[in-house]
């Protein structure tokens, strides 16, 4: 990294190479535009920068009207899921150096949810189906201290506790794109997290909710969700386990 090319004497020794990256962003302002359109920006970036940094540079230095969501900027709040070069990713976890910068980087909002402005979509349908699976611990016991659980019992649902509700999986699902009634992978992942929790007592309720016309049976095992998940959750596997639990009648 810290090498200086001899033919570039103006560059300081030890300076990190910067290069120009073209971002093509799908813009939409509901007050002005009838249809979304693509707009390109050139930004000076380092290979250690992320797509989110590029968006910041655009918003802060070039075009303040660019609208996108971000909160923690470190891959845990789940605000900045977007479609980067046709794949759902978190802008704050996608390094510029991992993309092919000889070509422009296409950035657009996630699909399947109502577009509000630029990279912002209405997340309400997503959270509505999340709420429907009752994603909270339901237990009648009142222990003095904590509810004890063995390491194996905890490991059973460990994978699905990692969800950050960024909607990358749900908005990559072709069934969700065309059928707004489908619960979507994220809701099923969060149901899985409680269905297989030994402390929870309402697994049957959640299985009944998901054993619906628009429930787990709409899943076509396309694996888009597993590929999209920025947390590496095996989403399709979790959905398959919920299907099996429904067929068994118990977790």
């Amino acid at each position: 990294m810290a090498t200086t090319a001899p033919e570039a004497p103006t560059q300081e020794v030890g300076a990190v190479q910067a290069f120009t990256v073209t971002l093509i962003v799908r813009r939409f302002d509901p007050e002005k535009d009838a249809e979304p359109y693509w707009q390109d920006f050139d930004v000076e970036m380092y290979s250690t920068d992320r797509v989110l940094d590029a968006l910041h540079k655009i918003k802060w230095d070039q075009d303040g009207t660019l609208a996108f969501r971000r909160s923690c900027a470190h891959g845990i709040c789940g605000s900045d899921a977007m479609r980067i070069n046709g794949r759902n990713r978190l802008a704050c976890k996608t390094l510029i150096k991992d993309l092919d910068i000889t070509k422009p980087i296409y950035v657009e909002a996630i699909k399947g949810l109502p577009l509000e402005k630029d990279l912002i979509v209405d997340m309400e349908p997503f959270f509505e189906s999340y709420r429907q699976v009752q994603p909270f611990l339901i237990a009648s016991s009142k222990p003095e201290k904590e509810r004890l659980q063995s390491i194996e019992q905890r490991a059973r649902f460990d994978d699905t506790t990692k969800c950050i509700l960024c909607a990358a999986c749900t908005s990559s699902c072709p069934v969700f794109w065309t059928d707004g009634q489908y619960f979507g992978p994220a809701a099923i992942v969060n149901a899985h997290r409680f269905i297989f929790d030994s402390r929870d007592e309402a697994a049957q309720v959640r299985l009944d909710i998901l054993n619906d016309k628009e429930g787990v049976w709409r899943c076509r095992t396309t694996f888009n969700c597993s590929e999209a998940c920025p947390r590496g959750i095996e989403v399709t596997k979790a959905i398959a386990e919920v299907k099996q639990a429904i067929l068994r009648g118990k977790p």
Binding site: Q132, Q134, I138, S140, D179, V205, K213, W217, R218
Partner: protein, 147 residues
């Protein structure tokens, strides 16, 4: 002592009864496994065993359809494959057709064509005459001469 109701507890979440979507999903899995065996058996017997693909003519088909084993085999193949395909088409319609009217029309067309094909196919399997009257003995099954 019981806890209070969870916030936003949906009304009537424990809807009991038959869930067609679940059984449709089960049907696709079970019939899929059976069809793999049935289809490859069918292809092997017709195209590989004996004289190979050259053996297929009226007499060959007539001979198969007058054997009770192949009657049951072909009936299974017909019903499993046709319903499997129709159910797959139904899920495609559910996936890509948003308008309720068009959806209903396509579902109806699918169900009607599946029913017609099932009835016709089953009729052919069980009412097929392997030895038509006045047919050239060269072209019909070998056992026709014994009748």
């Amino acid at each position: 002592m019981t806890t209070i109701d969870a916030p936003r507890t949906p009304v009537a979440t424990t809807r009991r009864g038959v869930n067609l979507e679940k059984w449709g999903w089960m049907y696709m899995r079970v019939s899929g496994v059976l069809l793999v065996a049935l289809i490859f058996g069918h292809l092997f017997v017709n195209l590989v065993a004996g004289e190979g693909v050259k053996q297929i003519d009226f007499a060959f088909v007539a001979g198969k359809l007058s054997d009770p084993f192949w009657q049951v085999y072909d009936t299974l193949l017909l019903w499993l494959a046709l319903i499997h395909g129709a159910n797959g088409m139904r899920t495609l319609v559910n996936d890509y057709v948003a308008k309720p009217g068009v959806r209903r029309a396509l579902h109806f067309a699918l169900a009607a064509s599946t029913a017609v094909l099932l009835i016709l196919g089953t009729l052919v399997i069980y009412t097929f005459d392997p030895c038509p009257v006045g047919a050239d003995p060269e072209l019909v099954a070998s056992f026709c001469g014994d009748l």
